[in-house]
């Protein structure tokens, strides 16, 4: 059995709560029983003293003119002898004690109603006092009857102890049973945990069993499994991403190594060496670009936000990017048109980079009738600003569209080799949009492809 700490264990908490409930319930029931018994006992006592006081009065009245004389006393002592527990006092009209033990003063109202009073020794008992209204010497005398020793106290004491014991045992039994039952009740959770503990990066396909689980746990297991699905997918993407990275880096590295080895294997002219170094420098710069872009994406992935934001006109930034691409656009025989404008707070350098990547892509994949027409469409509403780049080109299948922004994803594998791009362009666009709290979208239909991003205002 594992240690149960209420701060960390549900089982312990539930068992403790049930034990607490048991304490309350048993205490309430015990108190109620005690109270009922006490009332019943008191009623019996009261009936007794009331009966006896009536009896004594009757005797007194019957004695008539004789008053509290020998015959009456004898009669009364007979009565008392049969009830060892009774005490009787008789006072005359002037308060003189005619009968009874002077040592025990009793203060009771002479109304004939039984009530509780405290004896000088501290015990509580029941008594009753009434006035004799018969004619004769006894007229006006007060008869007091009390129980010398109330059984009620003893009975209640014993009863109280028994009830306390029974309640204590009941509470202990309930707590133990509650602990056992909750422990048992939580068995399915432990079973789920055992299943979950089998999930490792190497065994990401393990899922929690859904059949036979209690309905309370079904929801949890289903959500957990969905989370695992997403995790597995992301993990698979990451793995293929790592493979892509390795591949992207391996090709230029292989070229660098073999080129250097071949060149060093023989005596070369300075021109040849210079040529080698030039080639190497180009490859190294390519490696640097890949590493920088990957770091950029990694920073965006961990949630880095765009810094240095300022109010920017998207149309003006698009204009600057188009100016940058001026020569390339002219050589490609393309025409670029900017429509609309939007004001948004953003990092202008990052936004230019995003627009540049979109435009570069549009130029690369434009086809159809020359001149290629590329449209940069900018719009805004109160929530966000949008920029989309439209070009005529091969329709991208809809199942591929969502992957367009993935790293190292290239539209068509055949285009990849020798191409200038390293397949991170659109991933960077998405990263930039996310760094501003925005997003990207792509539509491709009937030979027109529109790719763009939106930035929140």
């Amino acid at each position: 059995m594992s240690r149960l700490d209420p701060r960390t264990s549900i089982v312990a908490r539930v068992a403790l709560a049930l034990a607490g409930i048991a304490v309350l319930v048993f205490a309430a029931v015990g108190a109620l029983l005690y109270w009922t018994l006490e009332r019943e006992l008191m009623r019996v006592e009261f009936d007794e003293v009331q009966g006896k006081v009536a009896l004594v009065r009757q005797l007194l009245e019957d004695s008539g003119a004789a008053g509290v004389d020998g015959a009456f006393r004898t009669q009364l002592e007979d009565v008392l002898a049969g009830h060892g527990n009774l005490k009787v006092w008789i006072h005359d009209r002037d308060g003189r004690l005619l009968f009874g033990d002077a040592a025990e003063p009793v203060h009771l109202a002479a109304d004939g109603e039984p009530s509780l009073f405290t004896l000088p020794d501290g015990r509580t008992t029941s008594g009753c006092r009434l006035e004799v209204d018969a004619l004769g010497p006894a007229q006006g005398a007060q008869v007091t009857v009390a129980l010398a020793d109330s059984m009620r106290g003893q009975v209640l004491g014993m009863y109280g102890r028994s009830v306390a014991w029974i309640c204590g045992l009941g509470i202990a039994a309930t707590a133990l049973l509650a602990a056992w039952a909750t422990r048992r009740g939580f068995r399915p959770v432990r079973r789920l945990a055992e299943h979950a503990s089998r999930i490792t990066p190497a065994a990401l396909s393990v899922r929690l069993p859904l059949d036979g689980e209690d309905e309370e746990l079904q929801g949890l297991a289903v959500s957990f499994n969905h989370a695992l699905d997403r995790l597995q997918e992301a993990y698979a993407r990451l793995e293929s991403f790592n493979a892509d990275v390795a591949h992207e880096l391996r090709t230029p590295l292989a070229t660098l190594i073999s080129g250097t080895e071949v060149t060093l294997a023989a005596t070369r002219s300075p021109q040849e060496l210079e040529h080698l170094l030039g080639t190497q420098l180009e490859l190294l710069q390519r490696l640097r670009t890949i590493v920088n872009d990957m770091l950029f994406l990694a920073r965006a992935d961990i949630g880095e936000q765009a810094a240095d934001r300022e109010p920017v006109s998207l149309s003006a930034e698009a204009g600057r990017v188009v100016e940058y691409y001026d020569g390339l656009i002219a050589e490609a025989g393309a025409q670029v048109r900017i429509d609309g404008d939007a004001q948004v707070r953003c990092n202008p350098g990052l936004v230019r980079r995003a627009i540049s990547n979109l435009l570069s892509n549009a130029l690369k994949y434009s086809d159809g009738a020359a001149p290629a027409r590329i449209g940069i469409e900018i719009s805004q509403d109160e929530r966000e600003a949008r920029l989309r780049v439209r070009n005529a080109g091969p329709t991208i299948p809809s199942e591929v569209l969502p992957r367009l922004f993935d790293r190292f994803y290239r539209g068509e594998p055949s285009r990849a080799p020798g191409s200038d791009s390293h397949g991170l362009g659109l991933a960077i666009v998405r990263a930039i949009a996310r760094m501003h709290g925005g997003g990207v979208d792509a539509v491709s239909r009937d030979g027109i492809t529109v790719v763009g991003f939106s930035l929140p205002k």
């Binding site: 210079e274 040529h275 170094l277 030039g278 080639t279 190497q280 420098l281 180009e282 710069q285 640097r288 670009t289 590493v291 920088n292 872009d293 770091l295 920073r299 880095e304 810094a307 600057r320 990017v321 100016e323 940058y324 691409y325 001026d326 020569g327 390339l328 002219a330 050589e331 350098g349 230019r352 980079r353 540049s356 990547n357 570069s360 130029l363 690369k364 200038d420 791009s421 390293h422 991170l424 362009g425």
Partner: protein
Amino acid sequence: MRLLVVEDEPRLAAYLHKGLSENGHIVDVAHDGIDGRHLALEGDYDLLVLDVMLPGVDGFGILDAVRKAKDTPVLMLTARDKVEDRVRGLRGGADDYLIKPFAFSELLARVQALGRRGRVQEATTLQLGDLELDLVRRRAQRATQRLDLTAKEFALLTLLLQRQGQVLSRTVLAEQVWDMNFDSDTNVVEVAVRRLRGKLDDPFDTKLLHTVRGMGYVLEQRA
């Protein structure tokens, strides 16, 4: 210029020493933060090139110490391009920063830019051989022939002419001429230079604008 380079990676330090010396600078190298701080405080340098991660005292520490004593321009080199690092460096009084891996041509460009800072205003006309640029009227002329350049081509030619004889990388050109602070994966600058060359060199026998394989472009008269 007299430069101090504080860099603990011995090969990189050696290359920087060699490259900067060959470009006409007098270069001292320190390999750790303590030597670096000592030299920076005692020596009289026109510019300090500080690596951020150094044994002993890091680049920020040296920067703090230097800024308390003097206002020598400081260029920081860092492998971490975290925004906080940049902000910390610039707030601490660095004049510029470069992120590793950087191209040597970029470092050289920035070193020269920092060294030039504060000098008297630059000339209003620039010249190289028979090429003449009037920066005020924004006119370019070669021999007697006026060159018909776009605004950006003019800016590109101005930069190349201001740094004549110095190789400027595509990154530096994209940044200085078009304000594009990123490596574009297209050959945008290449095409722009080719088009400038079409107007500047193609009609003439003497070529001024040269491509340096893998490094960039240089404007100079070659024999």
